[in-house]
Symmetry: C2
Subunit: 331 residues, 2 copies
């Protein structure tokens, strides 16, 4: 017997428990994906955010993948503009709300307790419309979503219902498109990215304001899918998530740090677009193509765990419980 | 305009933005529940777990609500036995895996890197069968679940589909029973509690071992619903969750702390059943009856946010995104 619970993810199983005939875990399926199923993330879609070092001096770095077309490109362009103007340098993490979000931005922006003036925004930011919270898919994208549906609709066991597998409480259906989890309506070819753990979104005030991108947050709890179609998603954290999710929670309303606990605000030293870095510093990441055979098998295994720890396969999976595999490319 | 994102939960809205005619937020609905809709949690179903104090000397206390009948009573009885034998005193938090679980137990149990012998378990622990992962409901419980379905099936807006509202990727349907989120199959009157954020479960090795209750974990990320029916749930954290969820993540396999980072293991000083405490120290908690009118309105509002921040109601909600309101009773 392993450490209790050690087998929960089907990793690090002791040899005697893991027979040749055992079903592979989702991780084992991904590990065996052929090289050509991995897709390089363009370096202009990667941001490196460096936080103030840990108390032991360790460097704390968070890597964010920005969304590609067809989603949220107005805000994504703004975020590159803000990063290139070095506007993010010196802002702080201002809000940590348990089971909800970590949020960073200018601590003096619209803050009645501010001890200084708000930082002026750079020129060239676009005002993006609320209509951009959802996207009309083109013919190729609709075809990709249909292909996902038809794969997902094949039950592994005859008694498993397609309805169960595809069920989503927040949409007619969910799918993966170009490496991202999306939800869709059947009736119209519109789709939107969804608020899973680690997704990055754009803080805003009241409608019709949609936010510029100067204020960002990431999800650190159960997927708050009620925010879908109400706020812009622009990316996800692909490395260093633990540096944000383990921050002390704020004791003010909504998890904001109060003026008394201002020393808990983690400083953000720099945010850089990876394509702007000297070649030797350009981190490289890749994701498993969500159109690949391996991804289809991985998603099916997430929905029906048959690796040794499990006794009852679920017969379905929440889209946020099928995280898209992303890995760092090491030379 | 408030602090950006400050309105996300519909709390702390500036007065000028919150008109009389605005739809109430879920929190506002709960705040207006009549006194008689709140149910006192029996003190024998509450555990107080005291952690080693914070670096600033602050006391860190976690309160766990144990499940009532008809769920998991074999393991719940074991946990009371372990607490009364003071067996938990001096164990540690050994595993913190991001977006998954925090787990505590005897650091020397079945640990090849242990620096001491495992702690012997007290007498009187029951060995509980895997069949107890699900529960056959009695007539009154079936009736309660049906009542929930028929309430939940009433769409607020005629165009909202009942199918969407009730959709659950892991079960035929979900409901609330006796204050707990459960999933069910239509065909047989069997139900099981579900792995939402903050739920507490029993670590185990490989099947048919179901765990004694000496090793416990709580969910600190997106609901790992694939564990439902594969592992015993016994309760939920009702206060102090942030003391566990913000712990540093372990760098070993599955988020276990390695031998090199053994100093990160948070000591658990004591675990006590509240009914065993002197009267002056007995904390009291209550939950909003999940059979109440207010709970039905709260759940509907979680599924269709219409408070001022929102522009597009979802038309449904994940059961783990409808947390049962629990509050401390202050004299």
């Amino acid at each position: 017997m392993a450490l209790p619970l050690a087998a929960l993810l089907g990793l690090a199983l002791p040899a005697q428990a893991h027979e040749e005939t055992d079903a592979p875990s989702p991780t084992q399926i991904v590990d065996e994906a052929p090289r050509e199923e991995w897709v390089t993330i363009p370096p202009e879609n990667l941001l490196v955010m460096t936080l103030a070092p840990a108390t032991d001096g360790a460097e704390l770095r968070v890597v964010i993948q920005l969304m590609p077309e067809p989603f949220s490109q107005g805000w994504v362009a703004n975020i590159r503009t803000l990063a290139r103007a070095e506007w993010y340098d010196g802002i702080t993490v201002n809000r940590v709300q348990d089971n909800y979000v970590v949020q960073w931005g200018d601590p003096n922006y619209d803050n009645p307790e501010a001890d200084g003036a708000a930082k002026p925004l750079p020129k060239g930011l676009e005002e993006v419309s609320e209509s951009e919270y959802t996207t009309t898919l083109d013919a190729a994208e609709i075809e990709a979503v249909r292909r996902y549906f038809s794969n997902a609709a094949k039950p592994e066991k005859p008694e498993e219902s397609v309805t169960v597998w595809r069920a989503d409480p927040y949409a007619r259906a969910h799918a993966f498109l170009a490496g991202w989890p999306v939800a869709t309506l059947d009736a119209a070819p519109r789709a939107w990215p969804v608020h899973c753990y680690g997704m990055v979104g754009v803080g805003r005030g009241y409608s019709p304001d949609t936010g510029s991108g100067a204020e960002l947050y990431t999800v650190i709890g159960h997927a708050p899918r009620h925010l879908d179609r109400n706020i812009a998603l622009v990316g996800r954290i692909v490395e260093g998530m633990e540096h944000l999710s383990s921050l002390p929670r704020g004791s003010g309303a909504l998890g904001f740090y109060t003026a008394e606990e201002a020393d808990k605000r983690t400083p953000i030293l720099t945010v850089r677009v990876v394509s702007d870095l000297p070649e030797s510093e350009r981190l490289a990441f890749e994701y498993l193509s969500t159109d690949s055979d391996t991804f289809a098998r991985y998603a099916a295994a997430r929905a029906n765990r048959r690796d040794p720890f499990f006794i009852e396969p679920a017969g379905g999976a929440d889209i946020c419980n099928i995280p898209v595999p992303v890995r760092r490319v090491v030379d």
